[in-house]
Homo-oligomer: 762 residues x 2
């Protein structure tokens, strides 16, 4: 660390708490779920906690953890796990390493070349070392560029450019009269999780898939490239998993159960999440000659990237030869698990996690988040030594194998399924960290809680609270005056729902443990994601260089964990939740209505001859097919259930207000234990054992990654995806299923309200 | 012409009239302004007319006219004028050449180079010949690449990239903290008429201006470049005028009067339309090293072009040396004017024009339009020989000097100002031609007429009427369901208002002669505009290669001219016009309201700290300045006048319906002459002698080119631009002025209605 950075971070540290501290002292409103007295105590402990994490520690942890490549199965991955475990122990956590054994393919052969006409070209498939960057030359330990869980294959075929390779791109290809059947497709990264691209390509008959990083997305179009700037250099490649995780994440051979030594395993050829066609990721330097060799229609405007060429859809005269084979070996993953036992409710678990494995050296992803989590653990250890005793059990986890497929967290959450269903209060995840705004996504029963936490955190740059900064950004980004007014007037900022892409998935969507994902971002542009350049040099030159956002993340995670662990009444809240469900219902009705309107209009235009009339014979574009106008659906069950939720939430709010009267003295009542037990299961009530149609692993009925988006959430997925995929019967059935789940939730909330009211009446 | 093209065009010729012909015969509705009997006769003559133009002739005219460069002052420009005049005479038109003498600068010295740091680079400023293109090597006769009417200058300064160089780009530069004061700016072409770029740059203190063609707009991003495809090659340059034509067009030395030999002339230094700073246009090959040498902020997303580089705003360490000097000589322009005297109303003139001068060989611009006009003239000549006698005088014009500044048409319209005010019925302009959709823009008193003409024209590709094809495109492009429904239900398609950019300007906006601009486009992409590659080779390979759209344009222009010349009652219509004025009024009120809302909201956000909170210290962006919320304006005078227009239009419609009863026999009445005289002046009533505030040459109160757009129209310009420029007092005053003009128009329409009713009553 250079001296000026130390100095800067110390100055900021000195300033950061002052304005918030004042505010906090003036604010006499007790924390949600706390009596006035316990709130005051808690506030003091939390302030102590937030003063502990230091940028220096974050920096030195990062330097150590990113010193060598530490992917699953590598020596340094194990070494890191052991080092983290030792640290946790040193901090005072009861720590062990839990091992699972998972299928983890690594590259054996990789070939991409132009054959049969056109200029000879063999793709390099190699990221060069950069002289100023001391860890970029550790080639012997670096995983080559590849997409994990690509099936083995050796194919030669003409190439077709499919833009982002999402379903609507294929609809446009059809209008262009271009088929990918028997072809290799080349898709650019972004606009979907990468695993969607080979999945959709295979569904359309493609026999191979290349995924490249266009400079438009994270290369020179965005700014200077590494090492001159943070963006992706010409030979930079995004590694990544392409397992069909929206079907199920985790070890492909052990869906639904922990991949313990003795677990029953599928054969590799039975594993449904391995891709159907071979896939490789490539750099834009490797992609350019392939794209330049394409002929056929000029790519439509939205498909054009930033390479200085005319983008064509293809195919061209030249063929591409793609060969991928892997070593299909079983590898250990090492989950580090450190516990602080609860003093009052040891059977109520507040879990915190971040993964430790990386594709290569992984400074931003995941170590920037992990080091914050470690500083939280250290800070909690310090508090323990000062006499603090959390009511609930706290479990700090450092997951292995997140990158290939959320392996460590999923296997752990599957192995401990029954315990987590019984004891899980909440899971708080992070995964890397950057600069900018505090993002909290997650379960809406924790929306009010999340807002409360965000109000405590000081943004290092503006000295505003993270909540205020995020609110002001939301005002700036609002699309309509109505949205802006809501943001200004609604007491809580809305939090986005969780899709997938990190370790909360199994907790929330399989186990039904209310989860949050936290992190800072928005001012941390770059193009080193999943490359050898995501390392200590890059991070300390271009991201959170003085680790002040790392400290802010530690403050956020630590505050959230403590607040949950110490509350007399668990801070689940159902008013925001019920309001959110109402917005989902409205969205679903609008989605159907829009689909009806669009199809009706398009059919009319087909009949009028709009598409024929506007077809340029020199750039032919076929009319879209006429479609049946979607039927009306019976939303009544959902509407009734959503209304029940609103009523039960009001009941709970009323009971809570009574409990809060007189400084909330009644909150301390021992009889609250029963209410807490009910609250703890409120997220479980949103799951059912059957799971989503065609993907039973996903049990949550409100949140899932989209089957065709991967990262992005689909809320009320069974209904929404049925509408999107025009499965009307399934949509009608799903409405009933989801309504039932919501009714059960409403019943639980009403019961909790009654119980709380009864406890208060005592 | 190759044989297959001939064959194809004949086949199409054979087919083209059949479906429309049938339709026409079945349709017994008389033409607007015609009795049933005269409509039948007219229809027969028009069908004869439309059968005459041939692709072969269009092609051979084009080949002859584009054989050599024919810019103002060149030998071939004069030669072409004489050849066109001879042709007009041969066709039977009473033809002469009218000469004006205008200031026309041509390049003497041109230098663009990087100096003081960075790699040495001297711009080529030269378009290379292309071996397959036989006219591209006529370098001795080609005007070098330059912007006419740039002031002489020799400046050296840092460079700043200003995107399109329009006012809002400078607002963003201010937020970036980048000043252009004392700098040279580099702007890309498009999004405004080119002359706006140096004007706005000079207003902000820049001392020089480069304008380049980014490949994003018309180069390789759009498709293959010439000669492999139609788009702009790396060294292609867009020449063009940068005279401040929104102030006044035509000879800079003779504003408002014809540039005859004895005209009183300004001194060059008094000419307000010459730029304030030196300007040169450059290719993207020449621009790339300059842009690559810029540092400073990364250009925001909407500013990034298609060159494979990171776009920076600048400035950089390197300076640019820009030197431009011209030969400031007086040159002759040769307007070809051919007349067919009117048999009944010789003092009512229907004028048709297209320019003949080009920047270089000019096949698309302007010869594709000119050859269509010539075929119209030939066709009318044929009809004359067959006994057709137009009621009104028809004047066919081939203008010189359009490219440098609408010189030929403006000087002619100024020289014949009194005659045109007395006799001008309508002016129909074209300027080049391409493939695709029939575009008609112009005076809304001719909107219904334009729709009637478009219904007669067969689109060569789809065999739909040009009207139907355009309607279906409008449906496809509609932004809202409401717009779509209007397009489907309104009997007439709306026509856009005229701004500037071609020879209608002086007729419509200075003389007050109702004008239309016609041409086919929308399937004619390319990047040879104003380069040496806009020639016969390019046109016959990439545009209307078989000249079927050229024939369609001749059919359109010829039909429009005949229909106007033969009508018993001039086909001006005021219902559509009054409706259009209502939409303008609504737009103005919305514009003010939006300005109030936006400023109020922005001020609120400034106070809330939104801009400070969302400012990334590593990419700083200053808050916009707080502004006074615009006052409410008194729109009542305009509202009342617009309502009067609606009432008078209804009176006229009623009188017309009565006149049309019984086959419209009464239309033939000689007393209609007085009504026609009134109708003829209806466009003049929309002008006033004072003209627009600060630009008195522009006398039309409804249509003008925007002072900061150049091409694009500003309707109700005095009011609209005052609101846009936040001149509230001027806006209030302008409302009264425009209202007065509209009242006078309404009075005229009411009088015409009364006169028509009286004539009918006879």
């Amino acid at each position: 660390m250079n001296r000026s950075a130390v100095f800067a971070s110390l100055v900021i540290a000195g300033l950061s708490l002052a304005p918030l501290g004042k505010h906090v002292i003036a604010d006499e409103q007790p924390f949600f779920g706390y009596s006035a007295a316990s709130s005051r105590t808690e506030r003091q402990w939390e302030e102590k906690l937030r003063a502990i994490p230091t940028p220096d520690n974050l920096r030195s942890y990062m330097q150590r953890l990113t010193a060598r490549p530490h992917n699953v199965g590598s020596p340094y991955d194990k070494d890191n796990a052991e080092w983290i475990a030792a640290k946790f122990k040193e901090f005072g956590l009861d720590t062990h390493i839990e091992q699972f054994d998972v299928l983890f393919p690594t590259p054996k052969e990789r070939v991409v070349e132009l054959v049969d006409g056109g200029p000879k070209f063999v793709a390099k498939l190699q990221e060069p070392a950069v002289s100023v960057d001391p860890t970029s030359d550790q080639q012997a330990e670096q995983l080559p560029t590849y997409n994990a869980y690509s099936i083995d294959g050796d194919v030669t075929a003409p190439l077709v450019y499919v833009n982002y390779g999402i379903p609507e791109d294929y609809e446009y290809l059809e209008r262009l009269g271009v088929s990918v059947k028997g072809k290799i497709v080349i898709a650019r990264y972004y606009h979907s999780w990468r695993g969607i691209k080979p999945k959709v390509a295979a569904e359309h008959g493609a026999i191979g898939c290349l995924i490249y990083s266009d400079p438009h997305e994270d290369g020179f179009v965005q700014g200077e490239t590494f090492p001159a700037g943070p963006y992706r250099p010409p030979d930079g490649v995004q590694r990544g998993s392409v397992a069909d995780m929206p079907f199920y994440p985790g070890d492909p051979l052990t869906p639904g159960v922990g991949a313990t030594k003795d677990a029953k395993r599928l054969k590799i050829e039975e594993a449904a999440t391995i891709t159907k066609i071979p896939v490789l990721p490539i750099s834009y330097a490797d992609a350019q000659p392939l794209l330049a060799a394409l002929t056929g229609p000029v790519a439509p405007e939205g498909w054009r990237g930033g390479l200085g060429i005319t983008y064509h859809v293809g195919p061209g005269a030249a063929k591409v030869h793609l060969k991928v084979t892997s070593n299909w070996l079983t590898k250990p993953v090492y989950d580090v698990v450190g516990k602080i036992p609860g003093a009052v409710f040891p059977d109520e678990w507040v879990i915190r996690g971040n993964h430790h494995d990386a594709w290569v050296n992984g400074a931003e992803d995941p170590i920037a988040g992990l080091v914050a989590e470690m500083e939280e653990a250290r800070a909690l250890g310090e508090l323990l030594k000062s006499g603090w005793k959390p009511k609930r059990t706290i479990i700090y986890c450092a997951w292995d194998g997140e990158e290939p497929g959320l392996l460590g967290s999923t296997e752990w959450a599957e192995a401990h399924y029954d315990e987590l269903r019984a004891h899980g209060v909440a899971y708080i995840n992070s995964d890397g960290n950057g600069r900018g705004y505090l993002n909290i996504e997650g379960a809406h029963t924790l929306e009010k809680f999340s807002n409360e936490i965000a109000r405590e955190i000081c943004d290092p740059e503006t000295k505003l609270s993270a909540w205020k900064r995020e609110q002001l950004r939301a005002i700036a980004n609002a699309k309509t005056p109505e949205q802006r007014e809501e943001i200004r007037k609604r007491p809580d900022l809305r939090i986005p729902a969780l899709g997938s892409g990190s370790d909360y998935t199994a907790f929330l969507q399989h186990d039904g443990v209310a989860s949050l994902n936290i992190g800072f971002s928005g001012e941390d542009g770059g193009g080193i994601y999943h490359s050898i350049y995501d390392d200590f040099y890059w991070f300390t030159h271009f991201s959170d260089t003085d680790f002040v956002y790392g400290r802010a993340l530690a403050q956020t995670g630590g505050t959230a964990v403590m607040r949950l662990a110490d509350a007399e009444l668990l801070p689940f809240e159902f008013g925001d939740f019920a309001d959110t469900v109402q917005t989902y219902l409205k969205e679903l009705k609008t989605l159907l209505q829009k689909s009806q309107d669009d199809i009706r209009e398009r059919n009319r235009e087909i009949e009028e001859g709009v598409f024929k009339a506007t077809n340029d014979p020199r750039r032919p574009l076929l009319p879209p097919p006429a479609e049946t106008v979607p039927p009306h659906l019976n939303f009544a069950p959902l509407e009734n259930a959503a209304d029940m939720l609103v009523r039960s939430a009001a009941e709970y709010r009323k009971a809570l207000d009574q409990a809060n009267a007189n400084g909330g003295a009644l909150l301390a009542s021992a009889s609250l234990a029963e209410v807490n037990k009910m609250l703890m299961t409120s997220e479980r009530k949103l799951t059912n054992n059957e799971g989503l149609p065609n993907r039973p692993w996903f049990k949550h009925q409100l949140y899932a990654p989209g089957f065709y988006t991967g990262y992005a959430a689909k809320t009320v997925p069974a209904v929404r995806e049925a509408i999107e995929q025009k499965q009307w019967k399934q949509a009608d059935e799903a409405i009933v299923v989801v309504a039932l789940v919501l009714q059960q939730e409403a019943d639980l909330i009403s019961s909790a309200a009654a119980k709380l009211a009864a406890a208060t009446a005592h």
